[in-house]
Amino acid sequence: MDLANVTRDIKRADLLQMYFYLRLTRTLEDRVTALYRQGRIVGGVYTSHGMEAIAVGYASALERDDVIAPFHRDMGAFLIRGFTPGEVLAHYLGKRTGPSKGKDGNVHMGDLKRGVIGFVSHLADNLPVATGIALSFKIRGERRVVFTGTGDGGTSRGDFHEAMNFAAVRKLPVVFFCNNNQYAYSTPQCLQMAIRDVADRAKAYGMPGEIVDGNDVAAVYLASTRAIALARTGGGPTFLEFKTMRMHGHSEHDPAKYVPRELLEEWKGKDPILKAEYLLNQLDYGDEAYFHEMGERVKKEVEAGLEFAEQSPLPDGPEVLEGVFATEDEVAS
């Protein structure tokens, strides 16, 4: 990363804030993993461990009234949009105080008021949805943008192609990204596609495609900022490929023995938090003492959140019957 570009295009406060969210994401998800191993969280746990820079970078580049339809390894985006560690943990624990009131689990959180679309397990399902959100902005003449993405695996699905194509044809204000962490569950990229760079897919739809270091929060932020600006000014969609590596299993139950150890060793050195600390050090924005202080701060936030979540009530069984249909007053305006 060129330091001159960083100092020119990223405010110091924004970069420090991104570092904070990298740390908060890591600490929160490590806590979630520990709770899962203790048997206190049931169901799936899909973390962004080692990939935190992607969500933190792009969500930081968006304006407040832009919309995010996140991937399932985008915890940082939720936190930046104001989901508290307490809400996230309540959600994981199936508590009534979580954003889905116990109806859904893991990273399936959404809230229209905070501009976050609830994740759907069927990968790439929310890409056409995001395209429609962008269409609504275009129809209403709003200068808003939607940011959405999937993994390398999800780019094989028809919905990925249908969304990219429609968005490009209508020049809609949407940015697509691929979190290319090299594995779709256990299947390596070479068994998913015959191309090396997922970004190449952009050419087929007539939109720009760009390869970005997904472990460098500043690079993610800058590439996202450019793509968002293009979308906001009527230039249509961009496809960003964030190259990264999944450092844990697909879900925390999965030891991922199919991943070569050397590959993980190689990527350990590219950890997004280490990279961010190196950058902050170089810019003289932060030192070891600062990093330590941040670590203590996020730990406190996560522990306070866990206390809230644990004290929160579970839903009552009959609440299962609530909310199948919406009422008129719930329609967005």
């Binding site: 069927h122 399902d125 929310n126 429609g132 269409l135 129809i139 909310g323």
Partner: protein, 330 residues
């Protein structure tokens, strides 16, 4: 495009077109997406003239990608617009199955996002469409909580139910029967009206047997009822109009009166809507029944093309007469 007047009879197809036009006119949030609906005016010409009247951002010709444009409708609906998407044929709705059942149907339940959208699906046989242009796919969605499903049988219901669907805060599947498009006409009120979702309609009052049906089969049932009347068998015909939420009260009221029930539909027999209603009658109306609950529905095959095959496949007036005579004997 047609203009509503109290004096002119309109076809079922024109009634649908009127509903779309009037709703787009009264509510700028309403917009249309689908294949060939703009310049061409739709495969059945329902949106003929709409592009010129409402412009390219309210009448969108889409790429040939049902999942993509249904997903897009979901996104726009969540932002507060009121998309109405057209399946060129209901058969193609299978391409969008995942978006409908996993995204549209579950979003509100999972995280509180209302999805006020309509999917229009021209369905049904009798038009020599063969296996991919004749299907009745409503059964697939009948089992999917979070969706509403309507299927009008008359021009009046077609217009009123489409308006109600567009104004509903939930995803509504609107099954319009292709066979009826230009075959039936009616005088419609000149003032704005809706047919509420969730209300069945007794299309013919009778005392002996309740025949419960929907869609084009309503007309078959009415024809059979005239023949049976000559034999002294008085059919009551309940047109469900809405499949979800099912108007159990109207069904039960009719069956408790007549004590006999025939369920008629054009969708395959196994696992169809008739099966569900038969089970409901067994659970809730057993004490009132004086005979077996009978089903009339096509065999479990795809819809065939060749005329004698399709004629054999589709329910006939004679099937209803035979079933009614059998039941009258109890």
């Amino acid at each position: 495009m047609t203009t509503a007047t109290a004096q002119t009879e309109v076809t079922y197809l024109e009634a649908i077109s009127q509903a779309l036009d009037e709703e787009m006119d009264r509510d700028e949030r309403v917009f249309l997406m689908g294949e060939d609906i703009g310049t061409y005016g739709g495969a059945f010409k329902i949106t003929d003239g709409f592009l010129a009247k409402y412009g390219e951002w309210r009448v969108l010709d889409t790429p040939l990608a049902e999942s993509g444009f249904v997903g897009a409708a979901i996104g726009a609906a969540m932002m507060g617009l009121r998309p109405v998407v057209e399946m060129q044929f209901a058969d193609f709705i299978s391409c969008a199955f995942d978006q409908i059942t996993e995204v549209a149907a579950k979003n509100h339940y999972r995280w509180g996002a209302a999805v006020p959208m309509v999917i229009r699906a021209p369905f049904g046989g009798g038009v020599h469409g063969g296996p991919f242009h004749s299907e009745c796919p409503e059964g697939w969605f009948f089992h999917s909580p979070g969706l509403k499903i309507v299927a009008p049988s008359t021009p009046y219901d077609a217009k009123g139910l489409l308006k109600a669907a567009i104004r509903d805060p939930n995803p509504v599947l609107y099954f319009e029967h292709k066979f009826l498009y230009r075959r039936i006409k009616a005088l419609l009120p000149s003032e704005d009206y809706i047919v509420p979702i969730g209300k069945a309609d007794v299309k013919r009052a009778g005392r002996d047997i309740s025949l419960i049906t929907y869609g084009a089969m309503v007309h078959l049932a009415l024809e059979a009822a005239e023949l049976l009347a000559q034999e002294g068998i008085d059919l009551e015909i309940v047109d469900l109009r809405t499949l979800i939420p099912l108007d159990k009260d109207s069904v039960y009221e009719s069956v408790r009166k007549t004590s006999k029930a025939i369920l008629l539909h054009e969708d395959n027999k196994t696992g169809g809507i008739g099966a569900e209603i038969a089970a409901l009658l067994a659970e809730d109306c057993f004490d009132h029944l004086d005979g077996p609950v009978l089903r009339i529905a096509p065999p479990d095959t795809p819809v065939p093309f060749s005329t004698p095959l399709e004629e054999y496949f589709l329910p006939k007036v004679s099937d209803i007469v035979t079933a009614a005579r059998k039941l009258a004997a109890y």
